[in-house]
């Protein structure tokens, strides 16, 4: 198994919003969904997941309600609120700009300076 990457500081919130935007999930589901779409390349501290979920819910970006899980158990499902969707869009745009800037900086050659 390839060595997985540590999460860049401050990106967990964005990942959670993205994962939940694909469909309502419970906390454990969020973890699985991120691992799945990152193809196991990201390492997420399981413990830090819940404080982040609670923080996003507190900020009104996520809404939570109790539902039934795949294995017929009560679980707390999170879904994106309209405010959360807007936040995800703005964060995504921000991230792309940042990545572009970083990429162009790292591509720079001595001739260009």
């Amino acid at each position: 198994m390839a060595k997985s990457l540590e999460l860049v500081q401050g990106t967990l919130d964005m990942l959670i919003l993205k994962a939940v935007s694909l469909g309502p999930l419970h906390g454990y589901g969020v973890l699985l969904r991120i691992q799945q779409i990152s193809k196991q390349r990201l390492e997420i501290q399981q413990g830090s997941l819940y404080p982040a979920l609670y923080r996003l819910e507190h900020q009104g970006l996520l809404a939570a309600e109790w539902g039934e899980s795949e294995n017929k158990r009560r679980a707390r499902y999170y879904r994106l609120t309209p405010a959360g969707r807007r936040r995800l869009q703005s964060e995504t745009a921000e991230w792309k700009r940042m990545a572009d800037v970083m990429a162009s900086i790292l591509r720079a050659t001595p001739e260009e300076v």
């Binding site: 404080p51 900020q59 707390r76």
Partner: protein, 893 residues
């Protein structure tokens, strides 16, 4: 939007705390169990799966704590545990807690009390009156100068109406002129206070009568045409026993039957700061309540004072500009009566015609004083907390060692401080509430009439008190909190006291706090000393008439329906009767009583050499007096003679002038035999009276004259009696003599002229009492602080004392060492105090009479008092130091 979501989430979490916790638990459990199941499915043994899942998740308690923080609950959890911890700490150290709470309660309580007085007397003085922030007092000015309370520099009713018509920025001009009457209650007549008001009074003040109605616009018009009255709730309850059918009944007021048309709501006391009004009558009834003349149609009959209500958003300056412009137009339209006259607006707290203006200086100084007291109290508690902090180093070390952050420790200590000040604030508010009527006790009693000077506790006062509470907590707890949390293991092992008592940096800081307390109490002591010296000097001023051997009272001629003629006849008969009584040397009547509210009339005075238009003549005060008045009061006649019974209705008109007037009108010439012209009539000057004080002690010699009562149409209700006997016995026989002649006449309290004069010193007296009381409190607090610091320092320096003793110091040496140290701290404090006091004592300004703000005597007295107090406060610790057993001290420390 986001904030709203947070508040909703936070309040939900806070309200359903137990559910939130249970759900958090369930959710995490579900996570771990799902993980275990997945791991088992991938082939791990159940035990191994469980171990892995738990390890991956981390400590559940930590995650939960972070979740709580995400929800904003951590802050409250910490607060709760800090408060619980703080309460336990206070409980465990009752000596410390009680002392700290007493200091803070005194500090916060005195601030709350003064806030409530300022609110209730100066800023929002009229309970139930709507929008007091838009009310301003209005009074007349002559040549730009506003007059004294109740003087003739009021406004006339025609002018008032013109203002009302022409000012667009002002909603209402409201007349409120204090008056009084007597009601027979049982078999004796009782004086009650009321107001002559314009018909818009109740509507404009926003007062809805409990029963009946207020006044109607037409009730402003017509000479004595509307004998209607609105009575106070109190009068309705007390005198009319709450009769529900009271409306429409009639009541004799000044012998005129008045129909009761309304009952004012409970808690409405009128709009005259200091007095509780019992009835209101329309201004058109003026002639019944303040005869002789009907003044409503005369532009130079200035007797109206009152309030204006600004339109919303209008500033005082805008309204004043408009009023001045209208007044200028009136000057042009009516030059004969209005030249030089204008009107001025005053904020309610500076109202010139009621007790607000006279209490303003005393209350503002008291405000400064209680801030000093609060600072002293804070310094004291700060000191106590520092001492406690040394004792708590162990607790702090343990906490830091087990991973608490320093910020958390500071927060915990601040919370404990806040806890102290919140408890103290509750006690302080209670204390202030008990003291809300204290001001009345400090004001001079006025026989019978109901005074009303309540403190007021509204949202603003409460908010300010809470502010004071938080402010003081930060002030007294912050430094000790930072100090206490700064534990380092090295110094924790070293001894606290570096050198002689109170050495070391903390010792220095604590001594500094004491010096500050001493400085502040020094300032208050000198202030009290200056006020005391000033009041003493005022009491020694010779007012120009006899103080102790002369009595004064007022008879209710107007209220009993006497015509002036009948009153004058009664006066002659009474004076004859009184003079026959043993011990009464002389008796006489006059209209105005010296040193009283609305004492004198005034008039432009012309002379043979000075026949300018009326508006350019000097306007002088005068009193209408009966035969023998001057000798009864003990005012010497310097030339000519005083009035006799021969100066009556049919005799030539005469006058007596005082020395200042004679000097002004006929410098260096004989005044007797000259003429003065008053209101078109010529009066012969037949005498010159010695100058006297007429209205207040701190007045210069002012021109003044007297005319005979019988040559006027006023009743002259003031009876003066001169006696060599104790005043009380003469007062009784005087009252009996009056009642023998007419038992229906009401008689005011009989008092000496000294009492009459001293009542005008109320502002100075209030300031003095406040200043002395708080100065004493301040000194007591500072000395408790000094005692505490010295005691602690001595207990920390036992080893040093033991050593000194072993090396041959005598107990006297040690006694002197400790006392001289406390005197040194006190001396530094006094040096700072002298500097502050020299710079600030002139703020006492107007309250000081005949005393320089830098008079050395109060300063020296304060130095002596504090030095003695400092020796007293440090004597016990010093004595303890001198009794230390060197062997014991050296062995055990």
């Amino acid at each position: 939007m986001k904030l709203l979501a947070q508040i909703r989430s936070w309040s939900g979490a806070f309200a359903n705390r137990a559910r939130v916790e249970a759900e958090m638990d369930a959710e995490m459990r579900f996570h771990i169990e799902s993980r275990i199941a997945d791991l088992e499915r991938s082939g791990l043994s159940p035990q191994e799966a469980q171990r892995r899942a738990r390890a991956e998740f981390g400590t559940m308690a930590d995650q939960k704590d972070d979740c709580r923080q995400s929800l904003g609950l951590r802050f409250w959890d910490d607060l709760r545990s800090d408060v619980r911890h703080g309460v336990r700490n206070l409980w465990r150290h009752p000596g410390f807690s009680i002392l700290a709470l007493l200091c803070l309660t005194a500090g916060i309580g005195s601030n709350a009390a003064v806030f409530s007085w300022i609110e209730g007397v100066l800023l929002r003085p009229f309970p139930l009156v709507a929008h007091q922030e838009r009310l301003m007092a209005i009074a007349g000015t002559r040549n730009g100068i506003a007059g004294e309370a109740g003087s003739s520099d009021d406004l006339s009713w025609p002018d008032f109406q013109d203002f009302q018509k022409n000012c667009t920025l002002i909603d209402a001009f409201i007349v409120d002129r204090i008056t009084g009457t007597t009601l027979s209650i049982g078999n004796h007549a009782k004086t009650i206070t009321g107001s002559l008001v314009s018909s818009n009074y109740f509507d404009a003040m926003g007062i809805r009568p409990t029963l009946g109605r207020g006044f109607r616009p037409e009730e402003d018009i017509g000479r004595n045409a509307h004998p209607v009255v609105v009575i106070s709730y109190r009068l309705w309850q007390d005198r009319f026993r709450g009769d529900p059918a009271i409306i429409g009944k009639t009541q004799l007021l000044n012998s005129v039957p008045h129909t009761i048309v309304g009952v004012a709501p409970e808690g409405f006391y009128g709009t005259f700061v200091g007095w509780a009004m019992d009835f209101w009558v329309p201004l058109s009834m003026q002639e019944v309540f303040s005869p002789p003349n009907y003044k409503l149609e005369t532009r130079n009959a200035r007797f109206v004072e009152g309030y204006v209500r600004l339109k919303p958003g209008v500033t005082a300056a805008q309204a004043q500009a408009e009023i001045s412009a209208v007044a200028a137009r009136l000057e042009q339209l009516y030059p004969a009566t209005n030249r030089g006259w204008s009107a001025k607006l005053f904020p309610l707290w500076a109202t010139p015609f009621n007790n607000a203006g006279s209490l303003l200086p005393a209350l503002s100084i008291t405000m400064v004083v209680v801030v000093f007291v609060l600072l002293i109290a804070c310094a004291n508690v700060s000191n106590l907390l520092l001492v406690r902090g040394f004792a708590r180093r162990h607790e702090m070390t343990v906490k830091l060692a087990t991973g608490a952050r320093r910020q958390r420790l500071v927060r915990q200590l601040l919370t404990e401080g806040l806890l102290l000040s919140v408890i103290a604030a509750a006690g302080g508010l209670l204390l202030a509430h008990w003291c809300r009527n204290l001001l009345i006790l400090l004001m001079p009693a006025r026989g019978g009439a109901l005074m009303n000077l309540p403190g007021r506790f509204d949202a603003r006062v409460l908010a300010l008190s809470i502010g004071v509470c938080v402010f003081s907590a930060v002030v007294f707890a912050l430094v000790p909190a930072i100090q206490t949390s700064k534990v380092d293991l090295g110094s924790a092992l070293r001894s606290e006291a570096g050198g002689v008592v109170g050495g070391g940096r903390r010792g220095l800081f604590r001594s500094g706090l004491i010096a500050v307390q001493v400085a502040l109490s020094f300032v208050l002591l000198t202030g009290a000393g200056l006020l005391l010296a000033s009041l003493d000097r005022m009491q020694r001023v010779d007012p120009g008439f006899t103080l102790d051997g002369s009595l004064v009272t007022r008879l209710g001629f107007v209220q009993a329906g006497y015509t002036p003629q009948r009153a004058h006849d009664f006066e002659d008969r009474l004076v004859d009767r009184l003079k026959a009584l043993p011990g009464i040397e002389a008796a006489a009547f006059g209209r105005g009583i010296p040193f009283s509210y609305t004492a004198y009339n005034s008039t432009p005075v012309a002379t043979d050499g000075n026949q300018l238009p009326e508006s350019q003549l000097p306007v002088l005060n005068y009193n209408e007096i009966g035969p023998g008045y001057l000798s009864t009061l003990g005012i010497p006649v310097m030339a000519g003679r005083e009035f006799t019974r021969a100066d009556n209705e049919s005799a030539p008109l005469v006058a007596i002038v005082n020395q200042a007037m004679a000097e002004q009108l006929w410098p260096r010439q004989d005044a007797v035999g000259r003429r003065i012209q008053v209101a078109g009539r010529w009066l012969q000057v037949i005498g010159v009276a010695h100058d006297a004080h007429y209205s207040k002690i701190n007045e210069d010699a002012v021109p003044f004259f007297y005319i005979p009562l019988r040559q006027t149409s006023v009743a002259g209700p003031a009876l003066q009696v001169r006696t060599a006997l104790p005043p009380q016995t003469v007062a009784e026989s005087t009252v009996r003599a009056i009642q023998d002649l007419d038992s229906d006449l009401s008689i005011d309290e009989v008092i000496t002229m000294r009492e009459q004069v001293e009542r005008t010193m109320a502002p100075q007296r209030v300031a003095l009492i406040m200043m002395s009381a708080f100065a004493m409190l301040a000194v007591a607090l500072a000395m408790v602080g000094l005692y505490g610091v010295m005691t602690y320092a001595v207990s920390q320096s036992r080893r040093e004392f033991g050593l000194r003793m072993a090396l041959g110091a005598t107990p006297q040496n040690l006694l002197r060492l400790v006392i001289s140290h406390s005197l040194a701290i006190t001396a530094i404090g006094m040096a700072i105090g002298i500097t502050i006091a020299l710079a600030t004592s002139r703020l006492l300004g107007y309250l000081l009479y005949g005393v320089s703000p830098r008079d050395p005597v109060p300063f020296l007295a304060a130095v002596a008092a504090l030095a003695v107090a400092a020796i007293a406060a440090s004597f016990v610790p010093a004595w303890r130091a001198s009794r230390i057993d060197p062997q014991h001290a050296l062995r055990y420390q």
